[in-house]
């Protein structure tokens, strides 16, 4: 089920879906076979409903629009009559939709261009302004000029884009360094001889990777019935201890 849900997100809305159908069936966007495309579109929407996935209301509105166009196309005779009375009447019921599709497609392509620029930009690394303290004169004014809140946030934003430290990526290393089994043994060892420990004590290290491993190790030890936990009251301190009857190593 999840699999399909993710794929629904592959479309940015009904226009995007229609563009896809137009591409897929290699039809001319300026001469859409409404009947065929509408059928395909409706099949999509129905399948989504059968899979009990949330369909944004926009998809349903578009379905109604397509059906309206389809029915207008089936009644050419009447149109001609109206046309005689009103010369401004749109001669093709598809016009408005086509216009929207073409317009949307332009921006979809523009978004692709931006994406390319984004990825080539991400290969360029900058550095923060150098520390020029040795060049400044201390007696300078205490005013900070016309700096705005936006400037401050932009400075922060720029920092997040900058390289951090010479540290290796910590999480990656940790995930190799502390296998859960090792942490399980650790905890078992700490509880040997019937010692009771506070749950929070196990999390002495602030590193998140370490915390995650510890947490999972405790869960696993509970599952294997090596340890048990006790809590006196809601939100109280959880005590963890070796399970009785389990031979200590």
């Amino acid at each position: 089920m999840m699999q399909y849900n993710v794929k629904v997100d592959a479309f940015e809305g009904p226009l995007d879906l229609l563009l896809h159908l137009i591409n897929k069936y290699e039809v001319d966007i300026y001469d859409i076979p409404v009947s065929q495309i509408t059928d395909q579109y409706l099949t999509f929407v129905h399948t989504m409903q059968e899979l009990e996935l949330d369909i944004a209301s926009e998809y349903l509105v578009m379905a109604a629009t397509l059906l309206a166009i389809k029915s207008k196309m089936l009644l050419p005779q009447k149109e001609e009559e109206i046309l005689e009375q009103d010369p401004d009447f749109e001669d093709d019921p598809r016009d408005e939709l086509v216009q929207r599709l073409v317009e949307y497609r332009r921006f979809k392509e523009a978004a692709n261009d931006l994406k390319k620029k984004e990825s080539s930009r991400s290969l360029l690394y900058a550095r923060p302004p150098a520390d020029i303290s040795e060049y400044t004169h201390e007696d300078d004014q205490t005013s900070i000029g016309d700096v705005t809140l936006y400037d401050m946030l932009a400075a922060f934003q720029k920092m997040t884009r900058r390289v951090k430290d010479k540290k290796p990526k910590r999480t990656t290393v940790q995930s190799e360094e502390i296998p859960i089994e090792a942490r399980m043994n650790d905890i078992r060892h700490q509880l040997q001889g019937g010692a009771k420990r506070r749950f929070s004590e196990l999390f002495s290290e602030e590193d998140r990777g370490h915390m995650i491993v510890t947490f999972l190790a405790v869960l696993e030890l509970m599952k294997t019935r090596d340890v048990a936990c006790e809590q006196d009251q809601n939100f109280g301190e959880i005590m963890i201890f070796e399970r009785e009857g389990k031979a200590s190593v």
Binding site: E58, K117, Y125, A126, R127, R161
Partner: protein, 192 residues
């Protein structure tokens, strides 16, 4: 001053300003040089870095010149330091941003008309990333908020100015969407 000396000074100044960049005006004032002389030396330097494939690159981003690394060496940098991760934007955010970039100032409703879907979330994301900002209020339409791009937008995409955006595509190209195709493959596997 010889051309070499000017280039040397430019290098030092570019180094000092870092990712904040420096305008031609600021460079001229600091060096007391004419704009032409300065720009010549700057182009010269730029050319030199490119020709010799040096470790630096001079980019004109957000109205200022700045020094960055050569894209070719990116893999080594990634190996050495904790890089800021991929701050790539979602498709929804990119589409919304493209519309704003080309049509600014523009209201949410106008954006939604083009995209054909609700656009609250992408707008929020773009605001929180400082890529767009409120750019006044529409006179009509109940004084709705107008959106425009920011300087941060230029930095994010390495654009010198909003005019540096490529012309809006005419929409005639037929590009296949791989991801969507994937869906349809799956879609057809569904038992009746």
């Amino acid at each position: 001053m010889t051309n070499e000396e000017i280039k040397s000074i430019i290098e030092s100044l570019l180094f000092v300003v870092g990712d904040e960049g420096i305008t031609v005006k600021s460079l001229c004032e600091t060096t007391s040089l004419k704009e032409d002389t300065l720009l010549d030396a700057l182009k010269d330097l730029q050319q030199e870095y490119d020709d010799k494939d040096r470790g630096f690159k001079i980019s004109f981003i957000g109205g200022g010149y700045q020094l960055t690394t050569n894209a070719k060496n990116a893999s080594y940098i990634e190996k050495l330091v904790e890089t800021p991760g991929n701050h790539t934007l979602s498709q929804a955010a990119l589409e919304t941003l493209a519309i704003i970039a080309y049509k600014q100032p523009i209201t949410r409703v106008e954006i939604e008309e083009i995209r054909g879907v609700k656009t609250d979330k992408p707008l929020q994301t773009l605001m929180s990333k400082l890529l767009i900002k409120e750019a006044g209020r529409a006179e009509k339409a109940g004084r709705a908020i107008l959106y425009g791009t920011t300087r941060e937008f230029l930095f994010h995409f390495g654009l010198s100015s909003i005019k540096d955006l490529p012309p809006l595509p005419d929409g005639s190209e037929d590009k296949e969407e791989e991801e969507a195709d994937l869906f349809f493959e799956k879609f057809q596997e569904i038992p009746e």
